[in-house]
Symmetry: C2
Subunit: 339 residues, 2 copies
């Protein structure tokens, strides 16, 4: 049933010439008789010959495949970024092999090994929320395999990275809240092992400080990016004697949970409590009230990541780790806009 694909051997035999000639003809190298070339091309087309990429990879020690590790691709941020990665990479002739860590450290470590065994030409990664030890990534770099991280970037490693200005984004968001009249501003922060969480947290703190507003420990809660964890954090905040009048949430998903909790309790958004998220997931403009959020150029993040990656791949000799920081934009919507 399953017939062996056509090889250059088949063509060579049929034409009574050597495989090297066929190889040369097919690759359009000079030094091959025009007539020979034509007959080879004709037969190749007729037999529907396609070069075996596996064999090619073996001789070239290059698979034209790049491994991508992300926490999860049901999150729009990641699927969109991957779209950008894929568009740039496929145009350059590369395929991608995607692994999900499912936010799990052990899975992530296993993913790295799997991809390395497949001899991918390099890795593009966004770490899991659990990951603290980066040894599995630095081992990759030590092997001389190109690696670039995006979004949840790898701090302290000798590798390129693409991120947004989390600090500025957070700062502006909170500053805007203050300007709009909110005073008791809480923060639902992300896992603190992630740089992005720390930066957004710091932006929040500095914005408050710059306006002489005190920061209260009780106003800081943590979540893990899930809707449910955001809802839980909001629930706790509502128990406070002096309830906040605004919440800056580390990401949109938990912000959805915040909105759900507030609505369930009949608390008006934004009159009683304002909410700001981060990322601008598509649903943020559909939810009720529409969510004010710090928008990230997700697709462009992917493209830029891929570009940095290609740059390193194609000129590994003068490689110097680069850091790209893309701009965010505050999208003001109804969750903060008092009417």
């Amino acid at each position: 049933m399953k017939e062996r694909p056509i090889t250059i051997k088949d063509i060579a035999r049929e034409l009574n010439i050597s495989v090297s000639t066929v190889s040369r003809a097919l690759r359009g190298l000079p030094d091959v008789n025009a007539a020979t070339r034509r007959s080879v091309e004709t037969l190749a087309r007729k037999l529907d010959y396609h070069p075996n990429a596996v064999a090619l990879s073996l001789v070239k020690s290059k698979t034209y495949t790049v491994g991508v590790i992300i926490p999860n691709f049901v999150i729009h941020f990641y699927s969109s970024a991957i779209g950008g990665i894929q568009d740039v990479l496929s145009q350059a002739g590369y395929n991608i092999m995607i692994c999900q860590s499912n936010e799990n450290y052990d899975t992530e470590v296993a993913n790295v090994q799997t991809l390395l065994n497949s001899r991918v030409d390099g890795l593009i990664v966004s770490q899991s929320k659990e990951t603290e030890d980066l040894a599995h990534f630095s081992a990759v770099i030590d092997k001389g395999v190109p690696l670039v991280s995006f979004n949840r970037t790898l701090d302290g490693l000798h590798a390129s990275r693409v991120e947004v200005d989390d600090y500025q984004g957070a700062y502006h968001a909170v500053e805007y809240l203050i300007r709009t009249g909110y005073r008791r501003i809480a923060h639902i922060a992300g896992p603190q092992n992630l740089q992005l969480s720390r930066h957004r947290y710091q932006g929040y703190l500095d914005a408050l400080n710059s306006c002489q507003l005190t920061t209260e420990d009780a106003y800081i809660r943590y979540c893990d990016f899930s809707i449910e964890s955001g809802r839980k954090a909001m629930h706790e905040l509502l128990l406070l004697p002096d309830m906040p009048d605004a919440v800056f949430v580390v990401s949109d998903y938990p912000a959805y949970g915040v909105i759900a909790e507030l609505k369930a309790r009949g608390i008006n958004i934004p009159d009683e409590v304002a909410v700001i998220g981060f990322t601008d997931e598509p649903f943020s403009s559909l939810i009720e009230p529409t969510l004010t959020t710090v928008s990230q150029p997700t697709y462009e993040i992917g493209r830029e990541t891929a570009r940095l990656f290609l740059q390193q791949l194609e000129d590994p000799d003068h490689f110097e780790p680069q850091q790209r920081t893309l701009k965010t934009e505050l999208k003001v919507r109804n969750s903060t806009q008092r009417v």
Copy 2:
């Protein structure tokens, strides 16, 4: 910088034995001296040896990689299904290589070729909305390469497929509308080259007929699964002299557009117009009003697809195309629930 990975040759040389012995020892074959085996294993671990999957693929004519082609992975349905596919496949030792057709026929054709060149062990696909000619897929089957389709399944091909009962799902949804008291029920249908669109359409028609309700051509509109196209279709329906009092939409995304349009016009949902979608995307329970919809087991669809695929892959001799039809479930929410 980039050092060559360790090979069995390196191990053989260092130990002064032949590569075949090393190979055997590493694979745990019998007929190898216990002491030899131990020294090989020790050295392999010490050198951090990992077999080159590319070389293995070449000799085995098997890459342990399966190609997946989907329209788009920012749609939750697909990213979730892929999660299921990946979980089942990776447990069986397979990697996946994902391509997006971006709903474009030419891209889809190119994807097939790319994947075939990479010598994937098989294909799992969901066709683009544009695709009418299935020749590129039947060519795959003719080559003896396992192929299974899901969701947007390939009608008429000798291949396994996994779908939900679109007809029943639609029928029940519309029947429910009628039972609830709606009478002028419109349908925003999907591209008619897709079987799923036709089945949902037919379910709609039959449900109306079974209740002696007339079906009016003016009540049938088309969309392409985008939010915008749903909005546009609703806009047209509102122009009718006898506006519908309910709309059954082929999918959730265009249903979001329908809701947006109705809200923009100040038309009450569900009192003036009820809306039902299909799929149950996560947003559907967050949007306001929450969307009544025909829920699909997206993750399970992926798992089942992968299982069917593995079955064929592991026993290609007794392969018979199979068709799995999973159940849907009507999720009643506020977009149809008169209060």
